[in-house]
Symmetry: C2
Subunit: 575 residues, 2 copies
Amino acid sequence: MLKRYLPVLTWLPHYNRRQLGADLLAGIIVTVMVIPQSLAYALLAGLPAVVGLYASLLPAVLYALLGTSRTLAVGPVAIIALMTGAALSNVATPGSAAYLQAALVLSLLSGAMLVAMGLLRLGFFANFLSHPVIAGFLSSSAVLIAIGQFAHMAGISAGGYNALELLSGIIDGLPHLHWPTLAIGLGTLLFLVTSRRQARPLLTRLGLAPATAGLVARSGPVLAVVATTLLSWQLGLAERGVAVVGAVPGGLPPLTLPGFDLTLWRALLIPALLISVVGFVESISMAQMLAAKRRQRISPNQELVGLGSANLAAAFTAGMPVTGGLSRTVINDESGAQTPFAGLFAALGIGLVTLLLTPLLHHLPIATLAATITVAILTLVDIPMIRQTWRYSRSDFSAMAATILLTLAEGVEAGIITGVALSIGLFLYRTSRPHSAVVGRLPDSEHFRSIQRHETETLSHVSFLRIDESLYFANARYLEDTVLQIVAHHPGLEHVVLICSAVNLIDASALESLEAINERLNEAGVTLHLAEVKGPVMDRLKRSDFLDGLRGRVFLSPFAAWEAFKPGAVENQRA
Amino acid sequence: MLKRYLPVLTWLPHYNRRQLGADLLAGIIVTVMVIPQSLAYALLAGLPAVVGLYASLLPAVLYALLGTSRTLAVGPVAIIALMTGAALSNVATPGSAAYLQAALVLSLLSGAMLVAMGLLRLGFFANFLSHPVIAGFLSSSAVLIAIGQFAHMAGISAGGYNALELLSGIIDGLPHLHWPTLAIGLGTLLFLVTSRRQARPLLTRLGLAPATAGLVARSGPVLAVVATTLLSWQLGLAERGVAVVGAVPGGLPPLTLPGFDLTLWRALLIPALLISVVGFVESISMAQMLAAKRRQRISPNQELVGLGSANLAAAFTAGMPVTGGLSRTVINDESGAQTPFAGLFAALGIGLVTLLLTPLLHHLPIATLAATITVAILTLVDIPMIRQTWRYSRSDFSAMAATILLTLAEGVEAGIITGVALSIGLFLYRTSRPHSAVVGRLPDSEHFRSIQRHETETLSHVSFLRIDESLYFANARYLEDTVLQIVAHHPGLEHVVLICSAVNLIDASALESLEAINERLNEAGVTLHLAEVKGPVMDRLKRSDFLDGLRGRVFLSPFAAWEAFKPGAVENQRA
């Protein structure tokens, strides 16, 4: 019981020295690798760079204690940073104290929602984001981020949270393009892209073990940060107009208290919900993938508690909304992390850097960070998935396309809300016009298939109708129309057999429709029968008056009905 | 083609004298019967009584020309009047010119929405109101109206659009209770209830034909109006503090133009949508019932156009939102109306009254109208439906109960929105945890049923899993869990057969999950097969790469799989 709420208890008793060594190494590697992106994502959200470091400390510790994934790394991530920036810029001016305060409130609300959803076991809620909508949202958000980062790489100040705002900002800024900044930005970009593609095979050929080669290849951003910082310091680039990170306050994060202001809380309620759900989906997909690889299990509801607590921690230590991040988790995993201790060690490492080494970050050019983000984020653009969805289902594709278009044109919130609403709406629309088929018997079998797709035997006075959907309020009226139309088109009809093999539910609205169908068929001299009604559905029908009013029978299968009605059958003569 | 958009063309060419006579009689009866309720519903919406007459003129004419029901009578109705009052009181003060103006805008928006939905063929939209939610909404709105009318009957001024406001107003007003008003109100109420119950059997016993007896019994409200108006005039009750209708301006309705004010339009957008949908559902249910009785057909999309045009007409002739009304339609039908000409004659009759006879309405006591509404409205309280829903489905009942509670506690808008959201949410929740069953073969048959409910034969190295739901984004992850759990619990398993007889759709998210399941089963040395895949689902799977990656086969039926895998089968040895 206690283990369920404190997952740390499941692995801590068996912890050994071999694991400690692996975790320690992974912690050190993650510390070094994760600092540049933590700074960058804070800037992406319109917050001071140091907030990214703060948000990688206590939140990571809390997730390590309460989360169920062994190797998920929690901290600021790109998409959530973008959504945070979009939400905060609606309620405060970037750079102001109100903006910082709003970031705390957003973390608090989002943390509280996640914890509440976990305790109420509402993990299934995340399922309402369909895969195509997620893929579309991530792809288009990545494009938005890349456009914004291009402005930083070119030394142009272009604000905004949709493609139109960003592009018009860039076009306006082109005359003031800053060439030294662009040189650093594009140089870094080129180096990162090349090292990402070439370094790994090269290092393997030079004799490094594949795992080590992969890790060294991933250290490109660290090398770029070190090199451009040294360059910027030596050449005094800051004085020549290249934007740098500047003074980063040293010391551990201050304790903060998100203030209560009803107007602000209301304004941030929906953004916090969206950030919670998107963050949870991103995090749990990755956690599940890793768990499957290592044959471990994660619990979605406990994950909600873990991520929620991490966000609550961010709210009280000058942080920003966090979740399980793709790139930091991959680094942690590839560095050989065995348990959440790796995350604790990384938090310790980042804590030491924050305490002692922030002056080293002063000369780091913003353009370097922008190039780092761009390379990392563009892996989220999933063209094959878009192409595959187009081929497989136009309906899924339309939801995906709407998500992409609205994310680009209006911003992240409009995009994700449209995607979810369209997914649900299209599903409801589809189930509201259920597929149904008049079926016949496959010769010499007990099997019934559509008379339009197969060679079948039929009986002229009996119609077998298979309904391929649960019956509920949205399709109840459609069912009435379908049955009455069949009766209208077959003058000699005496029996209608509704085959319910695909009916998993008959709700109260559909029950009323069935009663109406039974009544109208009786008036027309036709008897209604049911066949292959599932156990749970039958149990429920027995609780209503429907079966008392039904003149026909409930057959075990369509074949049993066939036997009863076929020419020469005793039942048939009686009927 | 033209007939589809002008339904009047389908019956006008065959119109004969017998029908003309019947329609004329019905028109006269409806004129007399409908005037009291038209006045009353305008007052219920916080509008001057004469607006109710105006809204029964041109709107009724337009519906007669464009609607598809032969006997539906369109005008102000109780629930829509209540919703109108609730919406308008949020944006203007009752009695002010702005309030009248807002009523026109509300009619315009609602009319435009209905016409647009009709032209876009969105009639299915109304299906998303489940029957229990509608029943709960009508019942609780009726209670709200009855409470409000009690205040009028007692001469207390209690405003408000939820039960708390109304009841506290009544309690505050009790000390100022006006006894003469209460005497008229309760006297009328008693008379109406008695005449409703007793008059019909009494008149039949006195020798009247049943139809005539029914009609005379329904004329109770007209008698009450005439009697109390005479009484009020003779005794000068208005001077003694009894509220009367007062001066009603004579003459035809003025032409009006709903002004454009963006703030007002925005504020009325959601209320207009709710009024449109609720009004459409109320109207179409009744139209369908009547059409079935007379073996006629109605077209939902053309009904939208007809009702929408009626509301547009209301917006330009000083009216209020209208729809097909229960009591006026029943009167029309029982008076023997044959075609929409009956509605035209009634409009003509009401027009004459409006033109010439409004001074007669001066002394009519409000308490009489309140008693009339109360008796009419309480027939909407559907206790048997509430009881039946409770017995049949707790989930449907919870949506209904929430609708009732919120309508009473918060008002009509909160109630209906909650009801719809809960209906959809509960449906999605149910389908997100699909029922599935491990099935076995019924001995000596080709039939497979749940091994928990039936005596079945099974094969130790094959698991037959029937999924009882379409596979889509909300249940894709659940499916993965279910299959992997079965594999984890059966060490000797070699084959898993997914029986898709109830799977009507596999969306892009579920396709990804199936691919993941196939991959994981392969890793575990288990082969995945499908059986009984429906035609349309199979067509779609062929458009993806799934079938190429599937190691197992797609069987026509579970029995075909059984034959392939049973001990001694050639396939089994190969597998």
